[in-house]
């Protein structure tokens, strides 16, 4: 260390690096030291990018030394979920089927972060192909929750949530298809944001369910997520689902409060199946909003009760189509060892494809592919997939009706606090973790989880939901909650 204190938030780091008060190399080295000391306890990363991070940070420092401005994320260490393509750096989706694959291009978000001066420190672990709610379904082993290493971090972006909670990086990126950013944010006691569908480019995000997937940030503070989202949001001609208009910048209105806003508690998400310790924190959040001048009422979004069923038909259907590309032809694993075939002639391409997929995919990915294939197959399409798409319309309509009465909605993020590793083995029980987060993805709206207290020492997040492009208002509310209950410090602090 050069003797100068290394700040802990992304905002403070960027300010200090831009002003030349601290070097990006010192910031990165301080975070790599925390990673090296504690990564073995957490397993947040599939790969830590020591050399890449130091080289990138040195480049940032050279820009500052030459009188230039590296950008709004100057020298900020960031962890990237390992389903975001990084040129020349392994991108595995925590699957054996992508073993050894190094993408020939960067995801748009990776380019935008680099252009803003951020420093990628590692690729984080996830449930294979982002399918799961605990980060136990990884071909490379489970990630542990830094708040209590006997617990799961949630998932599927569990590595990204754990990296921020541990203090390995002030910010990270995840992806959210049915709650994969917000649920781990709740379990790990950090902020996690699912932006409006189409607000952030999906180019270079390995596809799971294309009509639901969105990339978003994790951070310890509300301001840091706003900072990241302001950098990564925007139209991208390389993503045909990218919305044409840019997101209104969030940071400028972050401190505007909630005075006069109408905020509705989603009554359908406050009852059966939700831990009373969690609903108590949602009520406490409602009181914090009232104390800050908001009008809080009860909102009804009846169709959300069908969200889980519709999601577990739609998402697997899209996944079965998206994952058809893993066939051993163009990238990753190929299984075609003739010796294994007991002398019955050379392998055909079809046999190679089936052998590759059988060896490369884990059990949960196989289940989802089969569920989706079934929902799309002849004779079942109308009863399952077609019906689910209509239910999706009902959910969007019910949200629209609720947003005529309310500016924002409030609910639990997850039904419980973090559960123990290995405690949930039944797939359907695992899927129920997503009951509060799924409706947002089906509607295409933004939502975020904000830490709001603990129960038995484990973090509890509350979810703030907004209509499409409502991020600036949603973040104002998040800042109010953060002012009422201070954010949790990372488990391990960087050396001061």
């Amino acid at each position: 260390m050069s003797g100068s204190a290394v700040p802990t938030t992304a905002a403070a780091i960027a300010n200090a690096v831009r002003a030349g008060e601290v070097s990006a190399v010192d910031v990165v080295d301080a975070h790599l030291a925390v990673i090296d000391a504690h990564e073995a306890e957490v397993h947040a990363f599939n790969e830590v990018l020591h050399d890449h991070a130091r080289a990138t940070a040195a480049e940032v420092d050279r820009t500052v030394a030459a009188g230039g401005d590296p950008g709004p994320l100057a020298g900020v260490p960031i962890a990237l979920k390992d389903n975001l393509c990084t040129r020349g750096i392994a991108t595995t989706c925590s699957s054996k089927i992508l073993e050894g694959w190094r993408p020939p291009y960067d995801a748009t978000v990776v380019q935008l972060l680099a252009g803003a001066g951020a420093v990628a420190v590692g690729k984080t672990n996830l449930d294979e192909f982002a399918m799961g709610s605990s980060t136990e379904n990884s071909a490379f082993g489970a990630t542990r929750n830094p708040r209590d290493t006997a617990k799961v971090p949630g998932g599927s972006s569990g590595g990204s949530a754990a990296a921020v909670a541990a203090g390995f990086a002030p910010v990270s990126l995840g992806s959210d298809t049915g709650g994969s950013i917000r649920q781990p944010a709740s379990f790990c006691g950090v902020v996690g944001v699912k932006p409006t569908y189409g607000a952030v480019s999906r180019y270079g995000l390995v596809a799971f369910a294309s009509s639901l997937d969105q990339i978003g940030p994790f951070s310890a503070t509300v301001e840091d997520s706003a900072l990241i989202l302001d950098v990564i949001a925007g139209h991208d001609p390389r993503d045909s689902t990218s919305i044409p208009e840019a997101l209104v910048p969030i940071t400028p209105t972050l401190g505007d409060g909630v005075d006069g806003l109408r905020i509705g508690i989603v009554s359908e998400l406050m009852g059966e199946g939700i831990d009373p310790a969690v609903t108590a924190r949602v009520q406490a959040a409602a009181e914090a909003f009232e104390a800050a001048g908001a009008k809080v009422g009860e909102a009804s979004v009846p169709a959300v009760t069908y969200g889980l069923s519709a999601y577990y038909l739609i998402a697997p259907a899209e996944a079965s189509s998206n994952l058809a590309r893993y066939d051993g032809v163009r990238y990753g694993l190929r299984v075609d060892a003739t010796a294994d075939r007991q002398g019955s002639g050379p392998w055909t391409t079809a046999e190679m494809m089936a052998a590759t997929r059988t060896a490369g995919f884990g059990a949960e990915v196989k289940r989802r592919i089969m569920l989706g294939t079934y929902a799309l197959s002849a004779g079942y399409y109308d009863a399952y997939y077609g019906k689910a798409l209509k239910v999706r319309t009902l959910i969007a309509r019910d949200f629209d009706a609720a947003y005529e009465q309310f500016d924002l909605l409030l609910s639990p993020t997850a039904p419980s606090t973090a559960f123990g590793l290995g405690d949930v083995s039944d797939p359907l029980t695992m899927y129920l973790n997503d009951v509060c987060t799924i409706p947002t993805n089906l509607a295409g709206h933004p939502a975020m989880s904000v830490p709001f207290g603990t129960a038995d020492g484990l973090p509890i997040g509350v979810q703030i939901l907004a209509p499409a492009l409502g991020e600036p208002t949603m973040f104002r509310a998040a800042a109010v909650l953060e002012a009422a209950v201070a954010p949790l410090a990372p488990t391990w602090e960087v050396a001061r």
Binding site: P237, A310, L313, V329, Y374, A383, G386, D426
Partner: protein
């Protein structure tokens, strides 16, 4: 793997997923399942589909389907040549290549 029947029957009222259904779907998805996997996956997938009965039972009449959050249609760009990913770089990470192309085993099972 047993050759699955070509015609899939329409779902009966409250029909439960069978082991044969799972084997058929696995074949369609190009997955080779062991007997143990079939035994494990059949009740697990049946439970998920049973949960989805609430959707199946719902009267959604003439509600239009929603395949996408926002009605963006026919997204076009100017027809101009743009730089694209380098072919050699793509082929360099492929499992097998030959003469600038992806190489695969025989398609029809004949001698190579």
């Amino acid at each position: 793997m047993a050759e699955p029947s070509a015609a899939t029957p329409a779902p009966a009222e409250g029909a439960s997923l069978t082991r044969d259904d799972v084997a058929h779907v696995a074949h369609l998805a190009r997955l080779n399942l062991t007997d143990a996997e079939l035994d494990l996956f059949t009740p697990q997938l049946a439970a998920v589909l049973e949960h989805a009965q609430d959707v199946e039972a719902l009267d959604v009449g003439d509600v239009p389907p929603m395949s996408h959050p926002f009605p963006l249609v026919n997204v076009l760009r100017p027809d101009e040549v743009q730089p694209c990913v380098d072919r050699d770089e793509v082929l360099a990470v492929a499992p097998a290549v030959e003469d600038g192309r992806f190489r695969v085993p025989p398609i029809l099972g004949e001698e190579p």
